[in-house]
């Protein structure tokens, strides 16, 4: 039988340390919804999503109530629209985004991902149309998230796509006041079963419908580390592993339960430490607890490497299927500690770039001056893609050039997306570098066959 201290420990984690299930994400294939007729295609997509996800929110709320664990978000990911709607006879793919938005609203989810294209090696007609429609898609929808995969370890980096995404990000920022860019991710090595937004999409190797769960809990790890002040690193790693194990077990339980109740197969648990702007729910706090005066100080990359690895080691044994991004997220605007460090100048984009070599994703939710050029944004994407390509890991860029704002200003995205100080960007130009286009070939470590 479970003893009293274990029960109280769990309740304390939920009450005081912000332990929660960050998201239950239902992946839905819309590959069978393609139709040359636009209207018919949109209707098929709408009908399929609203039918499959009809009970998603209610089921999530019931589990939340019965187990007493908050499930913060219920979300949906769909097959990349560029693939599913390719046979459709239209240039305007924003229509599909609007359909997704309407379906998301109908079933009550706060985000729907999959307004996406995979162009690491080149564009198809659908990819080209989708990417061109992204700014309009994000301007005219509220809940739709968009992502584009521009590089992979096996394919190299599509520098034409990198150059175009710089322009698309600028255009999206200009017509949405920056907000649209918070829902637009550029990936290298994108994963097909990621439940976290804004980068979630339902990969082509995935089943018809699947339940993926993202757990969180930076506050719990932070509290556990407070109890081992001054101890050597193997103790720190052990403590993180044990904590990650517990968090993930809870995620596994919720995932299995949601899968059973919805009659949809369980996909994976993504054991990411995902911060929120709330005090005590910060990844930066964990790194500082290890002995850094501020996140961004020398030592930050090593601290993050330990954290990221220990989270995975603890989590893998706790779940039958671990997947998604799994590790530690370092979004600037969504983490109170990161915001503090970026505001004080302790944390720079260059240091964040180094941190992305060892964290689970990449440069995330970074606000930069509105006059940052498209070429500079493309070059930042190229750097991040190179890190992902060479290190066989997922990297991403979610950067927001906020119109009319400069270093020293602050932008508020609201809710979970948080607040970000405008961070300075290196002012030297990469214009000619980006103008070359073409492809950076796949690195040698991909030729394993």
């Amino acid at each position: 039988m479970i003893n009293a201290s274990e029960i109280l420990e769990t309740i304390n984690m939920i009450n005081q340390q912000h332990l929660d299930i960050r998201t239950i994400t239902m992946g839905i294939s819309i590959r069978d919804c393609g139709d040359p007729d636009v209207k018919r295609c949109c209707n098929k997509i709408y009908d399929k999503i609203t039918k499959k996800a009809r009970d998603l929110v209610r089921t999530g709320e019931n589990i939340e109530r019965e187990f007493g664990i908050p499930i913060v978000n219920k979300r949906i990911s769909v097959t990349p629209v560029a693939i599913a709607c390719e046979c459709c006879d239209t240039e305007d793919y924003a229509l599909f985004a609007q359909t997704l938005d309407k379906a998301a609203q109908e079933v009550g989810v706060n985000f729907i991902g999959g307004c996406s294209a995979l162009v690491q090696k080149g564009y198809t007609t659908g990819d080209r149309r989708l990417i061109a429609s992204i700014p309009e898609a994000l301007r005219t929808t509220e809940r739709v998230c968009s992502s584009v995969n521009v590089a992979s370890t096996r394919a190299g980096i599509n520098m034409d796509a990198v150059a175009q995404m710089g322009r698309i990000i600028k255009e999206t920022a200009d017509i949405t006041g920056g907000m649209g860019c918070a829902k637009l991710v550029v990936f290298a090595n994108a994963v097909e079963d990621n439940p976290f937004m804004a980068g979630a999409f339902h990969g082509v190797g995935e089943p018809e419908c699947v339940i993926n769960v993202g757990v969180s809990g930076p506050g719990v790890v932070h509290s556990a580390l407070k109890r081992c002040k001054g101890e050597p690193f193997h103790v720190v790693a052990e403590t993180i592993k044990k904590t990650a194990f517990r968090i993930t077990r809870m995620g596994e339980l919720v995932a299995q339960e949601a899968s059973r109740r919805l009659g949809v197969p369980f996909g994976i648990v993504d054991l990411s430490l995902a911060p929120t702007p709330a005090v005590g729910d910060s990844v930066a706090d964990i790194l500082e607890e290890m002995g850094l005066e501020s996140v961004g100080a020398p030592g930050t990359t090593a601290a993050l490497a330990l954290l990221n690895d220990a989270v995975k080691k603890g989590g893998v044994m706790a779940s039958s299927n671990v997947g998604g991004l799994s590790g530690a997220f370092i979004p600037v605007s969504e983490d109170a500690g990161m915001i503090r460090a970026a505001s004080s100048g302790a944390l720079t984009i260059e240091k964040l770039e180094a941190m992305t070599c060892v964290c689970s994703v990449g440069l995330d939710m970074i606000a930069v001056p509105g006059d940052t050029s498209a070429a500079t944004i493309s070059a930042i994407i190229a750097d991040e893609s190179a890190i992902g390509m060479i290190n066989t890991k997922t990297t991403a860029v979610r950067i927001i050039p906020v119109p009319g704002m400069d270093v020293g200003d602050r932008v508020d995205f609201g809710g979970l997306l948080g607040t970000a100080p405008i961070m300075p960007v290196n002012r030297y130009s990469a214009e000619d570098f980006i103008a070359r286009g073409g492809r950076i070939p796949a690195p040698l470590n991909s030729l394993k066959n």
């Binding site: 039988m1 479970i2 009293a4 029960i7 109280l8 769990t10 019965e66 187990f67 007493g68 809870m250």
Partner: protein
């Protein structure tokens, strides 16, 4: 199905009676109770069986929570599985 009821708050007369009568009214059987008072804070943990409950779990949870608010207590009910999952391999 078994669940855990936790009651945390300032110690006053009749807490146990109050919670137990609410559970009894709703057909919930109490299997085990442990309680302590830590620095003036009352902490009670009950193992209950809700299979004979007259109301569904969500409603029972709301009733307990409301009763708690009236008495200045934090009362919650959670399925036992969550604690098992987290603390047992």
């Amino acid at each position: 199905m078994r669940a855990i009821v936790t009651v945390i708050g300032k110690d006053t007369v009749g807490i146990i009676a109050n919670v137990c009568s609410l559970l009894a009214e709703n057909g919930v059987n109490v299997l085990d109770i442990s309680q302590t008072v830590l620095q003036g804070y009352f902490t009670m943990i009950m193992m209950v069986d809700v299979s004979g409950s007259k109301v569904d779990f969500a409603e029972l949870s709301v009733k307990l929570q409301e009763r708690g608010v009236q008495q200045g207590l934090d009362i919650r009910i959670q399925r036992e599985d969550i604690f098992e999952a987290m603390h047992r391999i």
